[in-house]
């Protein structure tokens, strides 16, 4: 690389700093609010927290009858927050696993076995994204009702993977297609069968793309608000997202913000840990294209 003048460097650095600040500010701001005492919320500086407290987080887990604080038990509902947490965990891990299994199977079929017209299969599946999801929940409700899955977490394990599938199949099959045939053929000649060759060779080689697919799915699952609110009605069956949706934000202000953070922080941490793999996986898939 040719040396750059100092002002180009400085400009680049300050733009990078600006971009980082822009991206992080809302996250920081929400975190700060959730750590405030009611006193500081009213009188303090909005941008910083002087005496951080976990009181708002604790309040979420309080059961009925042990309510404290000046709002008083008359105004406060108690929330089955522990249930929400468990449900959220089930839905998130379950959806990611279901998505990975179904999309790896489909992608292997399209990228390695290549049935006639496999490119059109892939495009057809990707084309699902042209359908606006706004109203799909009405006919979906009929399906769910027929299957007897009303108010059941399993519904989400069917719907979320379907929403994440098209992108994951597209990405994974593009990647599988790129792996040279010889890798697998060598194993087959050695006497391994297709399944062994797949689990011992192809799958380990695809780790970054699998991570990318998982993180993409996590994004889909974590960003849904509509479906989860429509299909899960009983408070103890809800996830954090659906449950927080029933909060009255203006009354239960800091608790709601604490709830937001309680879900966001683990999701963000997991995504951040895999961020590099995510980009690498996307890159690997993009080299092949469609």
């Amino acid at each position: 690389m040719n040396p750059r003048p100092w002002w180009v460097k400085l400009g680049h650095r300050s733009l990078a700093a600006l971009a980082a600040a822009y991206c992080l500010f809302p996250i920081y701001f929400m975190l700060v609010q959730s750590l405030k005492t009611p006193r500081e919320d009213v009188f303090g500086n909005p941008f910083i927290v002087v005496s951080p407290t976990l009181e708002n987080f604790e309040e979420l887990f309080e059961r009925e009858g042990e309510v404290r604080g000046f709002v008083g038990s008359a105004l406060r509902r108690s929330y089955p927050f522990a249930d929400w947490l468990v449900n959220t965990l089930i839905v998130f891990t379950g959806s990611i696993l279901a998505t990975l299994v179904t999309s790896v199977a489909a992608a292997y079929a399209l990228g390695r076995l290549r049935p006639p017209g496999f490119r059109w299969w892939r495009r057809g599946i990707f084309a699902v994204y042209v359908i606006p999801q706004t109203l799909l929940f009405i006919p979906l409700y009929q399906v769910v009702h027929t299957l007897g899955l009303d108010d059941n977490l399993v519904v989400l394990l069917l719907i979320y993977p379907t929403m994440a599938l098209p992108f994951c199949v597209w990405m994974l099959s593009a990647y599988f297609q790129l792996l040279p045939r010889e890798i697998e053929e060598a194993a087959l000649i050695e006497g391994a069968n297709r399944a062994t060759a797949f689990f011992r060779i192809i799958l380990p080689m695809s780790r970054p793309v699998l991570v990318a697919a998982g993180i993409f799915t996590l994004g889909i699952v974590a960003s849904d608000f509509m479906i989860v609110s429509v299909f899960l009605l009983t408070p103890t069956n809800q996830t954090i997202t659906a449950g927080l949706g029933t909060f009255d934000v203006s009354l239960e202000e800091l608790g709601a913000v604490a709830g937001v953070n309680l879900l966001a922080i683990p999701v963000v941490t997991i995504s951040a840990l895999f961020a590099r793999s995510y980009v690498r996986g996307l890159t690997a898939a993009m080299i092949e294209g469609a």
């Binding site: 971009a19 991206c23 500086n45 202000e253 469609a290």
Partner: protein, 295 residues
């Protein structure tokens, strides 16, 4: 050369495809079929008696309805503004990160996070941030700001603006990561060649970077457009259910859920599909490698 698989391979392929196809049929194909059929009937919660097939009457009614055109315009404006901003910011972020510098990992993580932040709840956070409870320290300031914006641009402008800001904040992060992956997929020799050919960064950007990134830009635009049109929940949440500037998503939701007009609402929601299909075909054309690489 694409070697045709044996008959056994092909059977296995269909077997492996079947779980995905089953899910797509149950969760997408059937509901869409229902929606298309319903859009051609007069199904409504307000009407008793058998459902009648009315052909394209619902669509004809929409075409004649000024409220529809207002919603369509709102949707197009929303999608255009957010997509343009997301693309510009995302491309900017991706280019910032394209070459190594000290602290690059940290800046990358910062840019990555808004996209990873769970939107189902960050939308609540944003609502709270921009419409704080009246007791909060900065509420008077934001209240003033909201008042100024609303009186200058009409009631609801603040809410609509906050939806746009939220969508851009989140979307630009996703697009930046996508484009960064795209830049990494381009052989670096091509950029080095460009560096020798021309001294002007702007020319290099216009003549080399953009054409090479075209398929990824197209993918980003497609995903951004479809998500903007489908972006109902965010509008609903950030405006606290008060729809002042209707977009097609919220208008359809309102028609069906609040007014019980399933037929008309379905027709409304489906009117965006042809537009998306055109964009998708353009995308496939761009993603298609000009010469099929040997497998």
């Amino acid at each position: 050369m694409t070697r045709a698989g044996s008959a056994g391979d092909i059977r296995l392929a269909y077997l492996l495809l079947s779980p995905a196809l089953l899910l797509l049929t149950v969760v997408i194909a059937y509901p869409v079929g229902w929606e298309v059929w319903t859009s051609m009937t007069d199904l409504s919660a307000l009407k008793t008696g058998p459902v009648e097939f009315v052909g394209l009457a619902n669509y004809a009614q929409l075409a004649a309805d000024p409220v529809y055109w207002r919603a369509a315009l709102g949707t197009v404006a929303y999608a255009a503004v957010t997509s343009a901003a997301k693309l510009a910011l995302g491309l900017g972020f991706a280019l910032l990160l394209a070459r190594p510098f000290r602290g690059r990992t940290l800046v990358f993580l910062a840019i990555f996070l808004p996209g990873a932040y769970p939107a189902g709840v960050s939308v609540m956070g944003w609502f709270w941030m921009l419409n704080p409870p009246t007791t909060t320290a900065y509420a008077p300031f934001l209240g003033q700001l909201k008042h100024v914006v609303d009186s200058a641009l009409g009631g609801g402008a603040w809410a609509f603006g906050s939806v746009i800001l939220f969508n851009i904040w989140r979307g630009s992060s996703f697009i930046a990561v996508l484009l960064l992956a795209g830049i990494n997929a381009i052989p670096p020799e091509l950029f080095e060649c460009a560096l020798l050919e021309s001294n002007s960064p702007w020319r290099r950007f216009r003549l080399v970077t953009v054409p090479l990134l075209k398929p990824f830009l197209a993918l980003a635009v497609f995903l951004s457009l479809t998500s903007a049109f489908a972006d109902l929940a965010n509008v609903w949440m950030l405006t606290a259910g008060r729809i002042v500037f209707p977009v097609i998503g919220t208008h359809a939701y309102w028609l069906v859920v609040q007014a019980g007009q399933y037929g008309a609402g379905s027709a409304l929601a489906l009117t965006v599909v042809p537009l998306f299909l055109v964009v998708l075909l353009v995308l496939f054309r761009l993603l298609d490698p000009p010469e099929r690489r040997a497998a």
